[in-house]
Every structure is written in C-alpha cells, then in structure tokens.
Amino acid sequence: MATYAEMQQVFEDIKDDFRYDHELNGCLNCGICTATCPSAQFYDYSPREIVQLLWTENVEQIYDAMQEKIWACAQCMTCAARCPFKNSPGGLVAIMREVAIKHGMQSAKDVLRPFGRVMLKLITTGNQLSPDMIQPDHFPDWGPNIQKVEGNLKTLRKAIPVKTLQTTDTAWEVSLKTSVEMYTIWEMTGVLDSLELMDENLFDVIDDFIDEKREEYEDWLEEQEEDDDD
C-alpha cells in the first residue's frame, strides 16, 4: 500500500501535466460523459467519477482509480465530444495512464503485458501489425475466417492487387535509416524509459535489437563512404 505522500506525488504528477488545465475546466456533474461512455456500460468505470476525483483532489481515490478503473476506458473520446463544459475525461485518463507508467504501477504492467508482441513489432519496425503476426491462436475473434491467412504468406501477399512490397514480417518495407531515426525518437521522447519500467525483459530484447540495427546502419554508412572514395 502506498503512503499518502506517494499518492500525493502521483496526483501532483497528473496535475503538472501540461494538458491538465486544458482537459479539466470544472464539472457540472450532469453525467452526460458516463451516459455516453461505452465502457461504463460494461465495466465499473465512470468518466464523471474520474473528473470528480480530480476536480475535488481526492488523492486516495485517484490512486485507487488508477489500480483498475482507468484501464477500462477505450479512449474513444465521446465524453469529450459531449461534455457541456468541454472537459475531456478521456484525455485525463490518458494523462493518468502515463503517470501510472511513470510510477511503475503494477496495474499498468498487468494491462500492457498482453501487448508485448505488438510492442516488440512497433518499437523495432514502426509497424503495429504484420502478416506473420496473424496466427489462429492469437486471433480467436476471427473465427473460421482465420483459415484464409493460413498457408504460404508470401504467395498470399502476392495475390493482393495493391502494392504490398511483398514483406510478411512488416506491413510495409522500413528502410534502415528510417528505423534508426525512429529509435532516436523512442529514446528522446522517453518511450524506451517507460518500456524499461513496464517490462524489463522486453526492453532488453528490444535494446539489443536496436544496438544491432544501429551497428548495421553504421556499417552501411561506412560502405557508402568507401564506395564514394572509389
């Protein structure tokens, strides 16, 4: 259990976010956000409750909401489109999630764990999903349709009339230079730091991968120079 000082710090970090005052103007307690919220229909989650907790600075309940409730939001932002005060409950949830990650909360780790494969693909290639990730055991919701992507992926890709660059491990071809630039962005925006906090093993795998790619890129640059010298 966190101490009050720790919970206070979590709230301060939420409040200090540069978006906070833009997303929260006050609250008329009308409930239109919760009425329109698809997640509120299925989970113990209410955008109005989140707004109220933040507006009334209820640090203990804010901390409590970050253990489970905030992860029920689908980030559809219908609440923001409806609020007569132009608050953005969904935007506040986004800030709370980032703070949960920054504080290494277990709830964040639990929620993000199933996304390990996607994270790996996204951070290393910039592609969220690639043909080789579409496997029957990962896509139960496809039902019998999943059969259609079984077999020789390369051949299947060729059957698609639009240009697919014939790759199967990415959605499109990513150049080495683009990848290396992307790694710099992940690094400088703190994405890799967040990842290290959330999943150390995944971070190690990705970190090694990035090192390799960077070396590859250095080698390629050297080759170019040599070619130029010739």
């Binding site: 103007n25 008329l28 307690n29 409930g31 239109i32 956000c33 919760t34 009425a35 409806r82 007569p84």
Partner: protein, 341 residues
C-alpha cells in the same frame, strides 16, 4: 420632435416602455418587425405564464390593447428601422416602410430568439416527430389536448430535458437561460393537470427556480403533481423498435447509466441573442457583449443604458430575462428615455 421616444420591438419590454411614455404624456412610436404585437409570448403561443398563471393571450393581450388604444402611441407593424441618424435629443430613424421618425431617445426591446433544437441533433429534434420544444408543448397545452404527434396516442411518459441550448460550451452557449427551469416545472404541472395518466420526468443539471419560484413551482410540482426530477444530462435520444423514444443518461445520484423509454421528449429550449443583433448593432450603433446580447452600460448610474448615449434597452435584449422583469425594465427604460426629451 422634442416629445417623441422611438420604441423598437413590441414584446413585453417594448409594450411596457411605450405605455410608460404615453402615460407620462409624451409620444411613443413603436416599431415591430412582425405583423402583430405581443412578442414571443403571443407569436410563439405560450400557454399560462409564470408566475401569474394567466393565459399569455389574456395577460399580454391586455398590454397590446392598452398600447393600440393609446392616442399617444403610433404603431408600425411589419416594419424595421433601416437607418439611424443624429444623436441624443435629435435622432432621425428611417423605417423600412419609407417613413421617418424624429425622436429624442430610443428604447430597444428587441428581445431574443428561441434556441433552434436542430443544433443538438443527438437529442432527436427534427428526427423523431415525438421530440418537441417547450414552445410546441405550450401550444399543445393551449390547444387543450396532450397527444403524441406521431400517432395521436396519449403519452404514458413525458421527459423534459433542461438546458437545451443553454450552459453548453460545445455549441457556444455559455449562459443559463434563467427561465426554463421554472417554465418546465410549470409546464409539467399543466401536462399532469390535463392528462393525469401521463407521468412527467424532468432531467436537470441544476434546478434554478430562483426566488419565490422555489415552492410555487419546484416543490409544488413534486408535492402536488408528482413530477419526477432526475439529475442527469441526456446523452442521446433514439427510437426503440416499438416506436417509443429511448432516452440515454446517467442517473448521477444512483451512479449508473440508464436507458428509459418515453412517448414524448420535450426540449426546454434556451434563449439565444436575437438573431438580428448584428444588424441591430450596425443600424443603431450599439455594442454587443461577448455572448451576442446588447451590451449593458454601467448599471448603477446609467440604468438601462447601452454603449450609445440616448439609446436604452430592456428585457431579453440584454440577456435571458423573465416576462415580468422585462415589463419592469421596459418602464425603467422609458423613465430614462423621457429624461432625454
């Protein structure tokens, strides 16, 4: 010339101003853009007024008769002011009927425009025939029979949604329209009186039956007429397969989202600035405040003043206003205008 006040607008404020000027032995020229006097209560067919309980056609009708019967008042209907020259003590107004009016001062009782509910499409107005505005429900009460426009059945349940076109930053209406809570409580009682088998629910963010309206309307509607109040702003109105309307909201006190069937949904529409205000501002040279209403001068020593000397305003021209206060302000503006003659 030195004994005439130009009054613009023939609603409660303008009628009251004109009659006040006439009573003081001076002349009033009343210009009304519609073809009859009485303003919103008459033109929109309001039922019984708050707080008197008198029918609008009788109460406001009395004001109209008084003005039309006064030898000191000249009325121009279906007419607007197209041009204004001169200054306090010596204005010349050109009217759309080609006539000119010499006046020492001017009172603007130019009122408001009802909010157009099609600007909140998620609440079903214009999509479902059984969704209507408070003015339409007032007309229905005036006609003596409460029925669903779609098929003529007597409604089992009526929902009144408050703050439609008020207190809503999403559509740039950041004001409380002041009258709708009391009007809705009054309307709910009228519905219950005429159609006892119809239950009425009012969905609110706050109830603002200010001053003496608290017990006379808010409490009475609950205690004597069993009107139900639910603290919720409705997310959307849809239609169920059986043809009834589905109202989706959160009962914020019970804290769960709810979907409830209704037969009629009434929008308690707010008061927009008069849609002609940009034009009125240009013709009369008066400023508008940030919501689009006529800007009020310093109030304590320049009561009823606008940003232009010699031009005064009263009633809903300044912002959402009750009929009674519009009438009082009309008299106050007349007093100010008379002192310029």
């Amino acid at each position: 010339m030195g004994d005439t006040v130009l009054v613009v607008g023939g609603g409660p404020a303008g009628l009251s101003a004109a009659s006040g000027i006439a009573a003081a032995g001076k002349k009033a020229v009343l210009v009304e853009k519609e073809d009859k006097l009485g303003g919103a209560p008459i033109l929109s067919g309001y039922a019984k007024l708050v707080p008197s309980g008198e029918w609008a056609k009788d109460a406001i009708g009395r004001m109209v008769s008084e003005v039309e019967g006064s030898k000191n008042i000249t009325v121009h209907k279906s007419t607007t002011v197209t041009k204004l020259d001169g200054e306090v003590g010596n204005f010349t107004a050109t009217l759309s009927n080609g006539q000119t009016v010499q006046a020492g001062s001017i009172v603007m009782g130019t009122g408001f425009t009802h909010f157009d509910s099609v600007n909140k499409p998620e609440w079903g107005f214009g999509t479902f025939p059984d969704v209507m505005t408070t003015t339409q429900m007032e007309q229905m009460v005036g006609s003596g029979k409460i029925t669903c426009p779609s098929d003529g059945r007597v409604p089992e349940r009526v929902a009144i949604l408050l703050c439609v076109g008020s207190r809503d930053r999403q559509i740039g209406r950041e004001w409380c329209s002041k009258i709708c809570c009391t009007v809705s409580a009054n309307l709910a009682m009228e519905i219950r009186e005429m159609s006892p088998q119809t239950d009425v629910f009012i969905y609110y963010m706050d109830i603002r039956t200010f001053g003496l309206y608290e017990d006379k309307f808010y409490w009475k509607s609950q205690e004597e007429f069993k009107v139900k109040y639910v603290k919720a702003r409705i997310a959307e109105v849809t239609k169920s397969p059986d043809g009834r309307l589905l109202v989706k909201g959160e009962d914020t006190l019970v804290k769960r989202p709810i979907v409830i069937p209704f037969d009629i949904v009434v929008h308690a529409i707010g008061m927009d600035p008069n849609e002609d205000n940009p034009e009125l501002s240009r013709v009369f040279g008066v400023g508008l405040e940030r919501h689009g209403y006529i800007e009020r001068a310093e109030h304590y020593t320049n009561t009823c003043g606008t940003t232009k000397k010699g031009i005064y305003a009263a009633g809903a021209a300044y912002g959402p206003e009750t009929i009674d206060d519009s009438i009082s302000q009309g008299r106050a503006a007349a007093m100010r205008a008379l002192s310029d003659l």
